[in-house]
């Protein structure tokens, strides 16, 4: 049996290897997020993504279940994500977590992990970021570097901006970057302007 690259990363996570887990998470994030699009009108997909990754970290650390089959860890994550989404839908009625055993065989459609980092895409994004006007670049950089752990109202205050001004800067930065990327022939999913 061959173990795929992402499953190898997930297996390393079992020994508490945070770097391996972060790399694994980056490789499965896109396909898992894509699998959740059908829930997007009902649940906050960002919540489902973060809860899914937390549960997968716990699963890596605390279960000894074997990882069998191609990209088994990705298929498991998609199953967990689907159950988390369903729990979100039921949250008002009850607060029960679905056991992992219920989702381990839940495959839907073609399941492929993201390829490794795309240097060309990353370079294009960085080039477009560098072209942003100063205030927009500062605001977007602050959101990117601190937005995972601090609310926008705090980030705005740190920059001496009103929250609405901060958000308008993000809007303008995103539109400017989307246009720049289009000129480079890059169409990121979700680019709207």
């Amino acid at each position: 049996m061959t173990v795929t690259e992402i499953d190898s990363l997930f297996i390393k996570s079992r020994a508490g290897d945070r770097a391996a887990f972060a790399e694994w998470a980056g490789r499965i994030e896109r396909p898992v997020r894509t699998s959740l699009v059908r829930f997007a009108r009902a649940v906050d997909v960002e919540v489902v993504m973060q809860e899914t990754l937390l549960r997968m970290w716990l699963a890596a650390a605390h279960t000894r279940k074997s990882i069998e089959g191609e990209n088994a860890s990705l298929r498991l994550a998609i199953g967990v994500a689907r159950n988390v989404a369903r729990e979100e839908l039921r949250r008002a009625r009850r607060d029960a977590h679905a056991p992992l055993e219920d989702v381990e065989d839940s495959t839907e459609g073609i399941v492929e992990p993201s390829p490794g980092p795309d240097p060309g895409l990353a370079r294009a994004i960085r080039q477009c970021f560098e072209k942003l006007p100063g205030r927009l670049q500062t605001t977007l950089a602050h959101r990117i570097h601190h937005g995972a752990t601090r609310p926008d109202r705090d980030l705005a205050e740190q920059l001496g901006l009103k929250l609405n001004t901060f958000l308008q800067h993000i809007v303008r930065a995103r539109k400017s970057m989307a246009e720049c990327l289009r000129r480079k022939g890059v169409e990121l999913a979700g680019v709207a302007s």
Binding site: V37, D44, L53, I144, T149, R174, A189
Partner: protein, 74 residues
Amino acid sequence: MNGQEREALLEAASTPYRERDASGGILSSPAFMDLDPALRDELVLRQAWMREVERALHPMGWSGTVSAVMERIG
């Protein structure tokens, strides 16, 4: 809601930051709760776009989602 308000609401919900309840559960963005269904379709695309940009600009190559989770697990 005018266009500027709509854009600001979508952008507010696109951040990876999420509040937590007393038991540590992750809470939906308040901005998400104010979006109508069509805008929620738009939001999921915008979140995906922003995560790609974050991944490209983060020193470790982490999206905001991965950063939030790695902060959480310590």
